[in-house]
C-alpha cells in the first residue's frame, strides 16, 4: 500500500495525529519508567555474585554476630576470604542525607567486591589511613566530596559518647561496574569502628553485622553454607548462611505488594491508551468510508484496505513509542541518581526499550483492527452511498 497515502492521511488531521501520538508518548514513557522501577527492585537479586555468600544471624537482621565467629568461619574448606560487614546507619548533617555506610575489613574488600574500580585516590592510601573512607562516585558528586576531605557522619545506631559525629577521611573513590552495587556507599575500617566502640562502650559492644565470604572457584556453595551453619548450631547466636542473591531477596520482598501495584498501574495505562488509539482509528475509519469505497471500486482488495489502516496506526503509534522511549532515556539518569540510596539499579534495559516499542506497535495493530476489519468487509456499493 502506498506509504504516501498513509502519510497524507496522517497529515490531513495534524492536531488529531499529534494528540494521539502524544498519548502514546506519555504512555510508553510511563510504562518504561514503571517497568524499569520493577526491574530495579529485583536487580540486586539478578546482579548478585554467585561466589559471594553471606553469614547473618538466623534470628534477626538486627542482631550482630560475635567477632569470635570470623576465625572459626575461616577454618571451613573452600573459602578464600571472610570479611566483616557492618551496617552503620548514619547520616550527614541532617537525617534527610541518608545513605549506606558499612564498616568493613578493608584489606580483602577489593578481592570480595571486584566490581569496584578505584578511579580517584588510591586503595593503598585507604588501607593506610586509620579513619580512611572509600566512597562511591555518585556519593562524591552528590555531596561534592573529594579525596582528602574529612567527612562527619552522625551515627544513629552507634552514636558517639560526646554526641558528636564520627569523622572519616575520603582516601579513594570507586566506580561500580555492577549497577546493583550502587555508587552511593561509604566504606570505612572495621578496626577503627571497633577501636571507638571499645573505648566508649566497652568490649562487650563489639560485633559484626554480617560476614561476607568469597568462595574458591569450583566450590559447591551449599556445602560451605551447611558447614558454616553447623558451626553455630547450638548458639550463642545461630546463623543462616545464604547466597548473596538470597540475602538481597529478603530486602526485595520487603517491597511487598509494590511491584504488583505498579504492574496494575501499567496495565491501566495500557488499557487507557489502547482505547485512545482505537478512538482515533475509528474516527479515521468513519470519515474515510467513501474514499475506501472508491478504492474498492477501483479494484483495491480487502487486504490493501486493511493494510492502509494497519500501517497508519503502526506508524502513528510506533512514532509515539520511539519518542516515549527517548523521553524515558532522558530521565533515566536523574531518576537513577534520585533513587540510588533506596533502590540502585534503575537502568533502562534494552529489554524494556524493546518492550516499550512492542507495546506501542501492538497498540497500533489492535487499534487498527477494528476499523480495518470493518473497512475490509465494507461492500463498495454501500461505502459509496455513505454520507460523511
Amino acid at each position: 500500500m502506498s506509504l504516501k497515502l498513509v502519510w497524507r492521511f496522517l497529515l490531513s488531521h495534524p492536531v488529531r495525529s499529534i494528540l494521539t501520538c502524544g498519548s502514546i508518548v506519555v504512555a510508553v514513557f510511563l510504562l518504561c519508567v514503571l517497568r524499569t522501577t520493577v526491574v530495579a527492585l529485583g536487580s540486586s537479586i539478578e546482579a548478585a555474585a554467585a561466589n559471594r555468600l553471606v553469614v547473618q544471624s538466623s534470628v534477626s537482621l538486627f542482631v550482630p554476630l560475635p567477632l569470635s565467629y570470623q576465625p572459626k568461619i575461616e577454618q571451613v574448606d573452600g573459602i578464600e576470604h571472610v570479611i566483616k560487614w557492618t551496617w552503620f546507619g548514619g547520616y550527614y548533617k541532617d537525617p534527610q542525607n541518608f545513605f549506606a555506610q558499612f564498616a568493613v575489613d578493608a584489606a580483602a574488600t577489593m578481592e570480595v567486591y571486584p566490581e569496584m574500580e578505584i578511579t580517584e585516590g588510591s586503595y593503598d592510601a585507604f588501607l593506610a589511613s586509620r579513619q580512611g573512607a572509600l566512597i562511591g562516585r555518585d556519593l562524591a558528586e552528590k555531596y561534592e566530596w573529594s579525596v582528602g576531605d574529612r567527612v562527619p557522619i552522625i551515627g544513629t545506631i552507634y552514636p558517639r559518647a560526646d554526641g558528636g559525629a564520627w569523622e572519616f577521611d575520603v582516601e579513594a573513590i570507586y566506580d561500580s561496574r555492577n549497577p546493583a552495587f550502587g555508587e552511593q556507599t561509604l566504606l570505612f575500617h572495621h578496626t577503627y569502628f571497633e577501636e571507638v566502640l571499645k573505648a566508649e562502650q566497652g568490649p562487650e559492644a563489639l560485633a559484626a553485622g554480617v560476614y561476607i565470604m568469597r568462595i574458591e572457584p569450583g566450590t559447591e556453595p551449599t556445602t560451605v553454607m551447611a558447614a558454616v551453619d553447623a558451626l553455630f548450631e547450638s548458639g550463642p547466636q545461630r546463623v543462616q548462611t545464604t547466597t548473596e542473591a538470597e540475602f538481597n531477596r529478603q530486602f526485595v520482598t520487603m517491597f511487598g505488594g509494590i511491584p504488583t501495584f505498579l504492574s496494575w498501574i501499567g496495565g491501566s495505562v495500557l488499557f487507557a491508551i489502547l482505547l485512545a488509539a482505537i478512538n482515533t482509528m475509528l474516527m479515521a475509519g468513519r470519515e474515510r468510508t467513501r474514499i475506501l469505497g472508491v478504492m474498492k471500486a477501483m479494484g483495491f482488495g480487502s487486504g490493501s484496505v486493511f493494510a492502509l489502516f494497519v500501517v497508519e496506526a503502526v506508524v502513528l503509534c510506533g512514532a509515539g513509542g520511539l519518542i516515549g522511549v527517548a523521553f524515558a532515556k532522558l530521565v533515566e539518569t536523574p531518576i537513577a541518581v534520585a533513587l540510588s540510596t533506596m533502590m540502585p539499579g534503575f537502568v533502562l534495559t534494552t529489554e524494556t526499550i524493546l518492550a516499550g516499542l512492542a507495546v506501542a506497535v501492538g497498540v497500533g495493530l489492535v487499534a487498527a483492527l477494528v476499523p480495518a476489519i470493518a473497512a475490509s468487509r465494507l461492500r463498495p456499493v454501500e461505502a459509496l452511498r455513505a454520507e460523511v
Binding site: V63, T156, G235, T253, G256, F261, W264, I265, A272, N279
Partner: protein
C-alpha cells in the same frame, strides 16, 4: 444569552456512543489509578496516624529515628519509668510507664519465605496504658515472667506456628502462643511477650524505648525540651502520634509523589484523548452549528455547549473510574516500615474523600479536554459552516 438546549449535548454523546464510551473508559482507567493510589495512602494514614495517641509519649535515645535504633540501659530506663512528674499514675500510685524491647525477628511465613516480624517485649504497665486498645480475641493474655506470647491477628494468619497452642521458637528459646489480639492501629502486626524473657531469649542487653501515659495537664514540649539535654538520661520525647507520623513519613511521601506523578502523566494522555473526541464531534457537526448560528445562537453559547459536553464526558469518566476503584476497598496489602524493616499490613480505603477528589480530577480533565474544541467552535463562520457538509 440563549443557551443551546442541554438535550443537544446528551444526544451528541449518544449518537457518537463508540467515541463516548472509549473516552469515558480511557478517562475512567486514569481516574481509577489515581483513586487507587489515594486510597492506598488513606489506608496507610488510617493505620498509623489515626491511631497514634496524643496522651502517650515515646522516649527514644537522642538521634534515633525509630525504636529499632534506640536503646536505654537498665538504670536509665528505670529513671524514666519512675522519676518523671508528668507521668500519670494508676489507682495505687504506680506510674503508667513501661519499658519495652523491640526486635524485627526473621520468621517463616505460612506461604513459604521469611519475613521480619516485630517482637515486642512489654511490662504489665503497657496493658494498663493501652486498656481498651488491645483486645484479646482468642485464648488469654501471657503470664508475666513466663515463656508465653500473644500474637496480632494478621500475624497469626501469615506466620507459621503462630496460632494458639503453637510453639514459636525465638533464637533457641521456645515460646508458647497463648492468645491472639487485635488492635485498630499498627500494633497487631506484632508479637508480644514479657520484656525480661524476650531480652534473655534474644540476647538484648538494653531496653529499646519507654512508653508512658501523661497526666492531662502535662506539657509535652516542656518535657521534651528538658530531657533533650538531660545529663543523666538524655532522651528524645515525642507523642505517639508524632512518632508514628515520622515512621510513615517516607512511604506516605512516596505515595503522594506517585499519585501526583501519575495524575499529571496519565492526565495528559486523557486530556489528549478528550480533545480528540471533542474535535471529531465538532467536525461532524459543523453544518449543524451553522444552522444554530444562523438562527441566532451566539458563538459563546455554542462554545459553552461543547465545554459542557466535555465536562459531561469527564464526569462519566470519573464515575466509571470510581466504580473501577471501589472493589479495591478493603483489599489488604503489605509493605515495609523502612524505619524498622518490618512488615506492615494495611488495606486500601476508598473513602468519600477519595471519590470526591477522583471525580474532581475527572472534571478537570474534561475541562482541559474541551477548551480547545470550544474555542474552535466559537470561531466558526456561520456561512462557511452552512456550506460544509
Amino acid at each position: 444569552m440563549a443557551l443551546v438546549p442541554f438535550k443537544y449535548t446528551l444526544r451528541s454523546l449518544f449518537v457518537r456512543r463508540s467515541a463516548t464510551l472509549l473516552t469515558v473508559f480511557g478517562t475512567g482507567a486514569t481516574v481509577a489509578v489515581l483513586a487507587g493510589v489515594l486510597s492506598l495512602n488513606k489506608g496507610f494514614e488510617a493505620l498509623f496516624e489515626a491511631h497514634g495517641r496524643e496522651d502517650l509519649v515515646v522516649f527514644l535515645r537522642p538521634g534515633a529515628q525509630s525504636e529499632g535504633e534506640s536503646a536505654f540501659s537498665d538504670d536509665r530506663a528505670d529513671i524514666l519509668l519512675k522519676s518523671l512528674a508528668e507521668v500519670a499514675t494508676n489507682a495505687s500510685g504506680a506510674p503508667l510507664a513501661s519499658a519495652e524491647s523491640f526486635l524485627a525477628v526473621r520468621l517463616r511465613k505460612t506461604d513459604g519465605g521469611e519475613t521480619n516480624v516485630p517482637i515486642r517485649g512489654v511490662q504489665p504497665a503497657t496493658f494498663a496504658i493501652r486498656a481498651g486498645e488491645i483486645r484479646i480475641v482468642e485464648g488469654r493474655n501471657f503470664q508475666p515472667g513466663s515463656d508465653e506470647v500473644i500474637v496480632g491477628r494478621p500475624v497469626s494468619e501469615r506466620i507459621r506456628d503462630a496460632s494458639v497452642g503453637d510453639v514459636l521458637t525465638l533464637n533457641t528459646t521456645p515460646f508458647r502462643v497463648v492468645g491472639i489480639f487485635e488492635h485498630d492501629g499498627p500494633l497487631d502486626s506484632e508479637v508480644w511477650g514479657d520484656v525480661e524473657r524476650m531480652r534473655v531469649a534474644l540476647k538484648r542487653p538494653v531496653y529499646n524505648r519507654v512508653l508512658a501515659q501523661l497526666r492531662p495537664d502535662a506539657e509535652v514540649a516542656a518535657l521534651a525540651a528538658r530531657l533533650e539535654d538531660d545529663r543523666q538520661v538524655p532522651a528524645k520525647v515525642q507523642t505517639e502520634r508524632e512518632y508514628l507520623r515520622n515512621q510513615t513519613g517516607m512511604l506516605s511521601g512516596a505515595l503522594q509523589f506517585l499519585g501526583f506523578f501519575l495524575a499529571v502523566i496519565m492526565g495528559t494522555a486523557a486530556v489528549f484523548t478528550g480533545t480528540n473526541t471533542m474535535l471529531s464531534a465538532l467536525a461532524s457537526r459543523v453544518h449543524e452549528i451553522g444552522i444554530l448560528l444562523s438562527t441566532g445562537f451566539r458563538p459563546m453559547a455554542i462554545s459553552l455547549a461543547f465545554l459542557l459536553e466535555s465536562l459531561l464526558l469527564g464526569l462519566l469518566g470519573g464515575v466509571v473510574g470510581c466504580l473501577l476503584a471501589l472493589p479495591l476497598n478493603g483489599v489488604e496489602t503489605g509493605t515495609t516500615n523502612w524505619q524498622t524493616f518490618t512488615e506492615v499490613a494495611f488495606a486500601f480505603r476508598v473513602t468519600p474523600d477519595v471519590l470526591v477528589r477522583a471525580v474532581g480530577f475527572a472534571l478537570i480533565l474534561g475541562l482541559l479536554g474541551g477548551t480547545w474544541p470550544a474555542v474552535r467552535a466559537a470561531r466558526l463562520d456561520p456561512t462557511d459552516a452552512l456550506r460544509r457538509r
